[in-house]
């Protein structure tokens, strides 16, 4: 679609607000700079803005920082909430774990470089925002999208796909690049002044940084690699391993949470090991002990290790040698470990820790 062609029209009829009452926009807020700026641009035009943020289970925000070393590090802020507070707007956090599975498992538009279904994901989130808008009597939706910026949902040919598949149509406004796109309903109706919207284009972050400085935003989040684990190569590799070994593309929340934690090794096709890397991760894995065969060294300090899959006697001995390798007894002649089955029965193993150079790199997921 060329920028000159009008967008299809969203047919939802909305009553005009009471005299003097502002028009209302729901803003997708990720916690990053772009969505913060987009919301600010609207606030500057006198629009009433409230934020919406989705929890898919793959979000990098919050808990993963809390899991690792939470004894030492102060709990990390939730950037979406922080953004809302800076802007002085409400933020509604919506849990979409179940519904989101279909986006990850069956993306109509496929994946990006990793298991990131960015175009389907954006369509899904804007659709959820549209449903929220209709339910709460808001007028339009805004995002912090920038034409030509990564990911692939922000191309000139994919932006209309998001507008169409979400059902938002011309009630979807992208303030940071609106001048490069067809006019939307809020512009046409004069709710917002198109001449004061922006024309950001491409991957350079300089225009955003200039605008941030203009608004006096200094402490904004700059998430490296985005806010979603599915864009992470190693995480995607672990998810692909989970699907291929189970023979089905399904997951539960616990599965995807466990993929965020620990070192994952698959020494044999029939089982993998999840090895805690620090006290925070060991504490987190503790919560899963009853659902997995697990090991820990008793003669030396070391990690808690969960066994995912079925392990025979030889496999358990191998797992014990590897567990010993990741503990303080790695240089010892022998390490004593306890293996606990899912019924809570304990057995003792005494093993020689596996030398690092005997662990094939392909065991690491």
């Amino acid at each position: 679609m060329s920028p000159q062609q009008p967008l299809p029209v969203n047919s939802i009829a909305r009553a005009a607000p009471a005299a003097g009452a502002p028009r209302k926009a729901v803003a997708l807020i990720s916690g990053g700079l772009d969505s913060m700026l987009a919301a600010k641009v609207m606030l500057e035009q006198g629009i009433h803005v409230e934020g919406i943020n989705f929890y898919t289970g793959f979000c990098v925000e919050g808990h993963t920082h809390a899991i690792r070393n939470h004894e030492h590090a102060k709990p990390k802020r939730n950037n979406a909430l922080w953004t809302a507070e800076q802007l002085g707007i409400k933020l509604h956090i919506i849990e979409v774990i179940e519904e989101y599975k279909d986006v990850v498992i069956n993306p109509k538009h496929g994946y990006g470089a990793n298991l990131n279904p960015c175009l389907d994901c954006k369509g899904f989130m804007v659709r959820k925002a549209r449903e929220w808008m209709e339910k709460n009597d808001f007028d339009f939706i805004i995002t912090g999208e920038v034409l030509g910026q990564r990911p692939m949902s922000q191309r000139r040919d994919t932006m209309p796909v998001v507008a169409r598949e979400s059902g938002a149509f011309d009630r979807l406004l992208r303030p940071l690049c609106a001048k490069l796109l067809p006019e939307t309903l809020p512009e046409r109706e004069g709710w917002v002044d198109r001449s004061k919207l922006l024309d950001f284009n491409g991957r350079s972050r300089k225009p955003q940084m200039r605008l941030a400085a203009q608004y006096g935003f200094t402490d904004y989040a700059q998430p490296a690699g985005g806010c979603c684990f599915l864009t992470n190569e190693q995480y995607s590799h672990k998810l692909a391993d989970l699907w291929s070994t189970r023979g089905t593309k399904q997951y539960e929340l616990d599965d995807i949470m466990l993929l965020k934690v620990g070192r994952h090794l698959r020494p044999r096709p029939n089982f993998k090991m999840i090895v805690g890397r620090d006290e925070g991760e060991n504490n987190f894995l503790e919560g899963y002990r009853k659902r997995f065969v697990h090991l820990h060294a008793t003669s030396h300090e070391g990690p808690l290790v969960l066994i995912d899959g079925s392990a025979n006697e030889d496999d358990l001995e191998l797992a014990a040698r590897l567990t010993a390798r990741f503990g303080k007894g790695r240089e010892a002649e022998s390490v004593t470990l306890t293996v606990t089955d899912m019924q809570g029965n304990n057995r003792e193993f005494k093993v020689v820790p596996m030398p690092a150079n005997e662990i094939p790199p392909e065991w690491y997921l």
């Binding site: 929890y55 925000e61 809390a66 990390k76 939730n78 707007i89 933020l91 956090i93 919506i94 949470m257």
Partner: protein
């Protein structure tokens, strides 16, 4: 004015704040909600969420990894 208790223990952030938000949506202004949690992120997220929505944090306790946060629902719940 009623007092309610929400068990958000063993949930990881942002789930405690989401459960708090959804529970508060069902309450009336002036009601109090006592949230129990174990994820330390709740100590930060729940008060932040209350600030942006205009609810009052009445008390916060954190002893022995057991977190309890009591909130009073604001006028614009």
């Amino acid at each position: 004015m009623s007092h309610f208790v929400l068990d958000a223990r063993y949930l990881l952030c942002p789930m405690p704040v989401i459960r708090t938000q959804n529970r508060i949506a069902e309450l009336a202004p002036g009601d109090t909600l006592e949230v129990h949690a174990t994820d330390p992120g709740a100590l930060h997220d729940i008060p932040a969420w209350c600030r942006v929505h205009g609810h009052e944090v009445v008390s916060v306790t954190n002893a022995d990894k057991k977190i309890s946060i009591t909130l009073r629902v604001g006028g614009a719940a």
